[in-house]
Subunit: 383 residues, 2 copies
Amino acid sequence: MPVGTLASVKGVPQDVLEELGVQILLGNTYHLYLRPGVEQVRKLGGLHRFMAWPRAILTDSGGFQVFSLTDLRKVTEEGVTFRSHLDGSSHFFSPESAMDAQIGLGADIIMAFDECTEYPAHRDRMLESMELTLRWAERSKRHFEPHKDEVPWNHVGTAALGCPGERSSPVGDELSATQEAAELCSARQPRAAVSTQALFGIVQGGMDLALRKESAQRTIEIGFPGYAIGGLSVGEPRGLTREVVESTLEHLPADKPRYLMGVGTPEEIVEYANLGIDMMDCVLPTRAARHGLLFTSVGKISIKQARYAGDEASLDPNCGCRVCLRYSRAYLRHLYASNEVLAQVLNTVHNLSFYLDTMRAVRHSILLGKETGSSCVWSRPKP
Amino acid sequence: MPVGTLASVKGVPQDVLEELGVQILLGNTYHLYLRPGVEQVRKLGGLHRFMAWPRAILTDSGGFQVFSLTDLRKVTEEGVTFRSHLDGSSHFFSPESAMDAQIGLGADIIMAFDECTEYPAHRDRMLESMELTLRWAERSKRHFEPHKDEVPWNHVGTAALGCPGERSSPVGDELSATQEAAELCSARQPRAAVSTQALFGIVQGGMDLALRKESAQRTIEIGFPGYAIGGLSVGEPRGLTREVVESTLEHLPADKPRYLMGVGTPEEIVEYANLGIDMMDCVLPTRAARHGLLFTSVGKISIKQARYAGDEASLDPNCGCRVCLRYSRAYLRHLYASNEVLAQVLNTVHNLSFYLDTMRAVRHSILLGKETGSSCVWSRPKP
């Protein structure tokens, strides 16, 4: 899932995202809550309609962003008080208000409000934090259930608020692969049927495998249509990340989407998909692009380097994206060195293309593995 | 002509420019001379190939940019010594070196090196400056003629330097209206025929109509395939601009392209086309877009205003561009207010679309006027 923090994948128009084959975007509740505000998005029909994006959207709960505001937050049983990174104003998120915010934004998949445990942490702290996340998961679900019909697009017969609800919630790898431009939400007609969002639970437990197991089991007891593994990519060594993911996956049901939050490099997303992860999100492809770091089939390229100033080759000889088909490394290097905005646009398009191609290859291999029953290297073991 | 200062129309990919119907772009010699450098562009096959733009390009002579560096330049008979706005390094442009630079960049249309007379100026100063520009025009042509075959794409049989030279130089309103993606310069084959650039002369003379007439006549005596009116849009009142343009046009041949430099608003480009101007360039549509100022059929819109925060209407109800067809004013306002890069991309696409639509309407009216012989308001009088 490319990250579209403020209802935009930085620099890339929505039609280009569609052309790239993006099936689902991630939006950040914390950022959207501050700008343009949940009520504004709700009044405008929800995120899909607001940003003219007819395909799927997932919003995080805001917990991770608030967690990142180390010096600007205070956690209590009730929730988190934090200061805006924009103007220092004081705000409060609880499981209930995080649900209200995400219902108002109206994404297809929303996340329970959790506490992302810091790294490193003592076992006592991991345990205490995990217990808090479990209580918050219960409160999230308890608040979501009676309010889930309040999504902005869930008003049968209300003319201006249609479109997104007409689709069934796309979940995991059941997303339809091709979607027509005709999908685009003109949405002047009333909705045909009622539908709601999918609320996913989040497993925490720090880097302790026993706590991860307990967190998984008790989150499953609460019951969600999908499960995320949170609290990773917070500074721990990559080997430890993998160990925790592999161990936690054993305790998550294979017939529900399993979402690894905040991961990762192209190599990592292949590795984790191979372990059984269905969904991932990461700012890496888009953020790296803005810093001139490009992922290619021939390795990483730092396009700012002078060695590319006269390089007429396309960025990635094995990539069919519109950037690689048209422009030379020399031109991309010039745009970056000259601080041209087009550098960010083109670099982001390529990096997203590389990530999406990588995931397409993974899906293809999984299908081949399933169909042939072979032990293909990409085939995904399901317990 | 949209302005692509550094071989990029800021924020807009080349395929989108093609889709918008852009027939010719302007590149700034001063900026390209500094970054990536003329020799670098020449080695990479010229501007067309460097920026993957198969349609026409015009480069200015660098004179106007150097003129803008008020405190960083020194003008002598020989040329202009100036300091780079980037690093303060010292450089020198003469008519000869400006020709060399523009031949090396390899645009389709290049401009004589002129002095843009400041405003206001005494008549003595206007006369002196006009005489200098006339001497520089002669030197420009004298240097261009024996060197005009040195364009980077003019090497018959040289494998890597083909494409742009295969087209005839598109000039004025003889530009072909539709061009296929197939045009895109893969250019691994040798060129089929020799062709050269078109060097245009520039009329100066300040705001003095008699000097403008003299400048036009003596520039025509030197002889160029097209003529520009320079030295306007330098701070004078709009009424005076129009007076000088109208008066100067009378002395320029109607069977050669007439190019008004640095103009203008949508109303102005219609007005000047109606007077007989064939070509114009201006940073207004692209620069205004970056500041959230949008041109529409219902007037100018400053998208940053809070009044648009909840406005679900499309930006311009009469515009068929991909921005107006997809996004609401509320979304565009959010992108701008949140400092999202996509704001610049979408705003620029719309403003260019509005300008190009305006010129398409002008051309259509001219054709109707010609074909019917009517005195249609848009029909262009040719002396």
